[in-house]
């Protein structure tokens, strides 16, 4: 009850920061537009020239929206994974979703498929990688289920990243290799509304599924045995949550390439703000994931005058943070 009010306040602040950041981000770019003008235009108090409106809504907003969708879904997947695996140091990459999706996309680029099929292929291989990981861990009888699942993930990750290297090795070094390499670094520089449309369906399915499971994720974070004795079919719930996260992760890889670290960092920040309870953690992760990636993408556009891949920026921010968590993660955050 008290917690609910508190949470509502924090959510409202979060959404306001998100809106504010969106307007600021729309003003940033090669052709600077005053943020105040954008705000006045949005509330209908001012008119802007049509070419400015085109830049704002056709070019910049689509990029900001994809950053929002990608950031939110990666953060939410990360939050779900950390609960499911009872471990605050895991993220959606561990079961092979991103590596599998990367391989699928590289394969498409190697054969010069059109962008739609590249996305489909990325998506399918993301699912395949996680599926193999899951089946593999099921084949191992008894023992610590979660440990075996994570170990299988390590193997499948290694396998698919070798496949990616193999593709890079045989790709045409003047033409295809650079585009594959650049795409793998993660970037939102070339997204448009088609991409937003492609993202929105799998991401909404994933977000809704995970949010519906929020109470069960609380129970799963107690560990397998306790969750079972509290009346949860752990296998079923875990499978549904993994599928939903994979759906989201593969979709994001298909559009933005490898964007790491968000799934690890954001749930921790969100937990520091609203505590570990998934009834609150899910929405806070969604909001903060969006804020974080929009911000990083702004940096990618501003810093240095050329587009720095956000995958790289994320890692530069992410690694020190990871070390910090590693040292302090048992601390009380509530």
């Amino acid at each position: 009850m008290e917690a609910n009010k508190n949470f509502a306040k924090k959510t409202i602040i979060g959404v306001m920061v998100l809106i504010f950041l969106t307007i600021i981000s729309m003003s940033i770019g090669r052709y600077p537009i005053n943020a105040k003008d954008i705000f006045l235009y949005l509330i209908g108090r001012k008119n802007l020239p049509p070419e400015v409106v085109t830049i704002l809504f056709k070019v910049r907003l689509s990029r900001i929206l994809s950053a929002l969708l990608i950031g939110s879904s990666l953060a939410l997947s990360g939050a779900a994974y950390q609960g499911m695996f009872k471990n605050p140091l895991v993220s959606p990459d561990i079961l092979g979703a991103s590596t599998g999706a990367s391989f699928g996309a590289c394969l498409g680029m190697l054969f010069s498929w059109n962008i739609f099929f590249i996305q489909i292929s990325s998506f399918i291989f993301g699912l395949i990688a996680v599926f193999i990981t899951y089946v593999l861990s099921e084949r191992v009888k008894d023992g610590d289920n979660i440990l075996i699942l994570v170990l299988s993930g390590v193997m499948i990750n290694t396998l698919f990243s070798s496949f990616v290297s193999l593709i890079k090795f045989i790709a045409d070094p003047y033409n295809k290799l650079p585009s594959i390499t650049f795409w793998l670094m993660g970037s939102l520089a070339s997204v448009d509304y088609k991409d937003v449309l492609f993202l929105i369906i799998p991401i909404l399915i994933g977000i809704i599924t995970i949010c519906l499971l929020k109470w069960k994720l609380n129970i799963l974070s107690l560990g397998d045995e306790e969750a079972k004795t509290l009346g949860i079919n752990t296998k079923k719930i875990r499978l549904i949550a993994i599928m939903a996260s994979t759906l989201m992760t593969s979709a994001t890889v298909a559009i933005g390439g490898n964007i790491g670290w968000i799934g690890l960092i954001i749930p921790h920040l969100a937990r520091a703000i609203v505590g570990p309870d998934y009834r609150y953690l899910t929405s806070m992760s969604i909001i903060m994931g969006g804020i974080f990636l929009i911000f990083i993408d702004d940096l990618a556009r501003i810093v240095g005058g050329l587009e720095i891949p956000i995958g790289i920026l994320n890692s530069i921010v992410g690694v020190p943070f990871y070390i910090y968590i590693l040292i302090n993660y048992r601390r009380d955050w509530s």
Binding site: W215, G223, N233
Partner: protein, 254 residues
């Protein structure tokens, strides 16, 4: 409601730890599972909870096989208090206790006001209302044990199943916990408890399952089954019996 093990063989990975076991326990009774280290008390507890399947024989709940029940149904029959909780996330004590309501929630439901009331009530029964908003990861071992019991109460199950609940408690808390369990059993709850201390089991109304080895076990009422000779055989040590001023039997190893 009545739980019965018939010709039960239990273990894991097809390694039989104990076989041909028989016991039965009804609501309002206390069953103590007693035996030396390594005899498989925890394994048996997990088999009773259907976390491990029986390797032979069966566990019957009102004469129906335990395999006929799904997790949600079992969650309303057994409430489990685990031995140690290695837990990474600092949930508030009240939220931890609320989790006991899970077997009663619909598919996508979160706890409602009524569930909170039941959880608060459990806090009061165990006299730990002051812990309500503390993080579970920051309270003492004894307090954790009480919170887990409060969660089990909130589960409103027919049986409370505890795996060596006193192993991390000091003397005072140990006595307190046993008294609480006795009180709960008098209110009609079944209690199944694994323990390594024979003196826990010396209860007039209690039943005991004394495990010795693979096929060797004694089952019966506590006072009749627990004898000096049997304890000496099971624990391979000399045992003496003393009586307190209130005429309570106490076993002492010598």
């Amino acid at each position: 409601m009545r739980i019965e093990a018939r010709n039960l063989a239990y273990g894991f990975n097809n390694n039989i730890v104990g076989s041909n076991i028989y016991f039965e326990v009804a609501k309002g009774e206390m069953l103590f599972i007693l035996g030396p280290n390594g005899v498989g008390k925890t394994t048996l507890i997990k088999t009773i909870l259907n976390l491990l399947g029986p390797l032979d024989g069966d566990i019957l709940i009102d004469n129906l096989s335990i395999s006929d029940f799904n997790r949600k149904e079992l969650g309303r029959i057994f409430a489990y208090v685990p031995q140690n909780n290695s837990f990474n996330f600092p949930f508030k004590v009240i939220d931890m206790i609320l989790m006991g309501r899970t077997p009663y929630l619909e598919k996508f439901q979160t706890p409602k006001k009524k569930d909170y009331e039941i959880a608060f009530n459990s806090l009061e029964i165990l006299n730990i209302s002051h812990l309500e908003n503390k993080p579970f990861t920051n309270i003492s071992g004894g307090e954790k044990q009480l919170v887990l019991i409060a969660r089990a109460l909130t589960q409103e199950a027919n049986f409370l199943v505890l795996d060596e609940p006193t192993s991390s408690l000091d003397f005072g808390n140990e006595v307190k916990l046993l008294k609480i369990l006795e009180k709960l059993s008098k209110r009609g709850m079944g209690v199944i408890m694994a323990t390594h201390n024979p003196n826990h089991a010396v209860k007039k109304s209690g039943k005991i399952l004394l495990l010795k080895g693979k096929k060797d076990f004694y089952f019966g009422s506590s006072l009749e089954t627990l004898t000096k000779e049997r304890l000496e055989k099971v624990y391979e040590t000399k045992v003496d019996v003393a009586f307190t001023k209130k005429d309570k039997k106490v076993f002492i190893s010598i």
